[in-house]
């Protein structure tokens, strides 16, 4: 018997998640599912909590002393906020790319080798070389840097730096990649390259991308979540959200009536 319809596999689920910074509530009761082979886009006016919510998915909010997260977030059915969850393991499985490219002031090679080294993924030097090459190839950067792997990562152009950061995240073989406005500091050509890269990586990793660029959300994602004032207003197929939104607020936002 052949299946023409593949059942989506749930990668991450968030249920009734709220986040407060001290007494200020930044995310209020949000529930979202992220499928194995999908790209999910988070859109919404700035300050509505997109980054905050994204950072709950790999517990980066732990680094903010005042942040408190409630609700339930699961990765492959396992509660990531439970006491037996190892944050080190979690962040190796859920990688992150930041708004501003932040390569370490080390060589290109060392930037990519950073994760494999701390997680002990490579035994011999040859293994590490292979991981570095594979990651740089997947990030579409190999041909541009293969002759200068020992140059500093900070000497690359902005777009190359961001792809280096993606390669760095890929190097530990994550299952999910979170991207917080990865193109907002880049020019249109570099942006196009990153979008192309997201297309290529789709299926291999589940991806969540925050963007303030509506066309970008429409181009790269299969699902879109619209946040407003800390709440999830609407979540659904990207095509539906952009052509036929259910909520008035979503429609106002995507037609540019405010934001």
């Amino acid at each position: 018997m052949t299946k023409s319809l593949k059942m989506p596999i749930l990668k991450m689920t968030a249920r009734n998640v709220s986040v407060a910074y001290g007494s200020k509530i930044a995310i209020n009761n949000v529930s979202i599912d992220v499928d194995q082979d999908e790209v999910v886009a988070f859109i919404g006016p700035s300050g509505c909590g997109k980054s905050t919510f994204l950072r709950t998915l790999n517990r980066m909010n732990d680094t903010v002393a005042s942040a408190r997260v409630t609700g339930e977030i699961k990765l492959d059915g396992q509660d990531i906020y439970s006491p037996d969850m190892d944050v080190v393991q979690l962040r190796a499985r859920v990688g992150m790319v930041f708004q501003k490219p932040n390569p370490f002031p080390k060589s290109i090679y060392e930037n990519v080798a950073y994760g494999p080294r701390i997680h002990g993924l490579a035994g011999a030097k040859a293994d590490l070389d292979r991981i570095v090459e594979k990651s740089l190839r997947r990030a579409g950067l190999w041909d541009e840097v293969k002759d200068r792997l020992s140059d500093s990562g900070t000497a690359l152009s902005g777009g190359q730096q961001q792809r280096l950061c993606i390669a760095r995240a890929i190097a530990v073989d994550p299952e999910v990649i979170l991207m917080d406005e990865p193109c907002s500091a880049l020019d249109p050509i570099a942006t196009a390259k990153i979008e192309e890269l997201i297309h290529e990586l789709r299926g291999r990793y589940a991806m969540v991308i925050v963007t303030h660029n509506m066309q970008q959300a429409a181009r790269v994602s299969q699902k879109t979540a619209f946040f407003h004032l800390g709440s999830l207003v609407e979540y659904g197929n990207t095509s539906d959200i952009f052509t036929n939104p259910r909520e008035e607020r979503t429609k106002d936002y995507i037609t540019g009536r405010y934001g």
Partner: protein
């Protein structure tokens, strides 16, 4: 007229200039609808500065040159023929005569000074009148010149601005000129020293005993290598072995682990340590640490251990330097963008891995620069070694043995009983010059490193 009275007179004239110019400027503004570039007070300041500043400059120069002129006049009187030839007696008679003439003393040791006192007083009075007349002339000339320029279209504002700029420039030049003067005198005295002692003997000789100098070959006992080694050993080795790890670790704790409340009280306390007078550290070194170090050495079988050991001085110096290293390292670590830290944490690195693999390497140039500055401070530090280090120059690697430093030797050489131009005393200047050159180079290199580092993140 006394100097103070003259000063107030000049300032008073300046005030009058200010008031009249203001009145004049207010008057021509009143009748006009045009916008002027300068306010009445700018015109006032313009005239006031032209009135007061030239005589003030004149008075400063005058006060430096006139005593010599007065003395010359006195020397040309017939009574001065009886003065002894130039030397100590002559100088003391002249200064006694001057005190009598100025009414600062009433009794005289030398009879001749009584004879000279009236001509001193006369000459003094004459030159005072000349000074007053010249100062007033300058004040009126300057004031009048400036007053004629107070016209509607005149940009007094920019002129005043320029004068302010010149005064600030002058203030900053004073510090620089003083340094230049100090260096020049160091160079001059050192040159005299190197005239007597070959520079190679001084820089490469390994025997230092300034108490017994052979007049025919002074260089043989003025070889400074043991001092250089002692300075390096105490200031750059022992002190840094203490200061670098503790300073660095406290900086890491304060920037990465401490809760904001902890940091709020801990950092000022640490910085307060830098303000403790070094003589207090000297007591601590000499009275507490040095005996303890010796007792410890004896207990582990080094019976000859010195109570003026390099270790005691170096340890305390290291403690003194901790806040310095800590605050430089703190700044460097804090200057690493937090996105580096986030990037590493998001890769699954722990805090200590992040510090070791990302923050410290990124902060390293800044930390190195800070350490170099700390070394330059440590080798110039004097009080601790004067109190706790030995006066005997030995070339040793043993931290329990006694060693001496350049600064300690400078103090010993200059506080001893010696004529001012003996090789022994002059050696102090040569040591001072060497220390100056070395710390200067260290500072230049350190500031370069730190600057390059700052630029990397801006």
């Amino acid at each position: 007229m006394s100097a103070i009275a003259l000063l107030f007179l000049v300032l008073g004239l300046g005030l009058i200039g200010w008031l009249t110019a203001r009145v004049r400027a207010t008057r021509f503004r009143a009748g006009s609808t045009v916008r002027f570039s300068s306010l009445p007070s700018h015109h006032g300041w313009f005239v006031a500065l032209w009135t007061a500043v030239p005589p003030l400059i004149f008075l400063v120069i005058w006060s430096m040159t006139s005593p010599a002129l007065v003395t010359d006049t006195v020397l040309s009187t017939p009574a001065a023929m009886q003065l002894p030839p130039p030397g100590f007696d002559r100088a003391s008679i002249l200064s006694e005569a001057r005190s009598l003439a100025e009414g600062r003393s009433f009794g005289a040791f030398h009879g001749l000074s009584r004879t000279l006192a009236p001509s001193y007083a006369a000459a003094q009075t004459r030159y005072d009148w000349i000074a007053t007349a010249l100062a007033l002339l300058l004040a009126f000339a300057g004031g009048a010149f400036a007053f004629t320029r107070v016209k509607p279209g005149f940009g007094a504002r920019t002129q005043v601005e320029r004068v302010v700029m010149l005064m600030l420039l002058g203030a900053s030049l004073i510090a620089i000129l003083t340094t230049v003067g100090i260096v020049a005198s160091l160079l001059y005295e050192s040159a005299r020293f190197f005239h007597v002692v070959p520079i190679t003997d001084f820089l490469f000789g390994t025997h230092w005993s300034p108490q017994v100098i052979d007049g025919r070959d002074p260089g043989a006992s003025l070889g400074a290598v043991p001092l250089f080694w002692g300075t390096f050993f105490i200031g750059a080795v022992i002190a840094m072995i203490v200061a670098i790890p503790f300073g660095l670790m406290s900086a890491i704790y304060l920037t990465q682990y401490a809760a904001p409340t902890t940091r709020k009280w801990m950092k000022p306390i640490l910085e307060m340590l830098a303000g403790v007078p070094t003589v207090v550290y000297g007591y601590f070194a000499a009275l507490t640490v040095a005996p303890a170090v010796r007792d410890f050495a004896v207990s582990i079988g080094i019976s000859w251990a010195s109570s003026e050991s390099a270790l005691a001085a170096g340890l305390v110096m290291g403690i003194m330097i901790i806040p310095f290293v800590s605050s430089m390292a703190d700044d460097s670590i804090a200057a690493v963008p937090s996105s580096m830290r986030d990037g590493s944490l998001a890769m699954g690195a722990t805090s200590s891995e992040t510090i070791r693999r990302v923050l410290l390497p990124a902060a390293l140039p800044g930390v190195v620069g800070g350490v170099l500055l700390a070394v330059s401070r440590a080798i110039g530090e004097t009080m601790i070694v004067v109190m706790a280090a030995s006066g005997v120059a030995t070339l040793t690697l043993n931290p329990f043995a006694s060693t001496t430093t350049v600064t300690k030797q400078i103090v010993d050489l200059l506080t001893g009983e010696a004529e001012f131009d003996s090789p022994k005393t002059l050696a102090a200047f040569a040591l001072g010059l060497t220390l100056f050159v070395v710390t200067l180079l260290l500072n230049i290199v350190a500031l370069r490193v730190v600057k390059r580092y700052r630029e990397a993140y801006e």
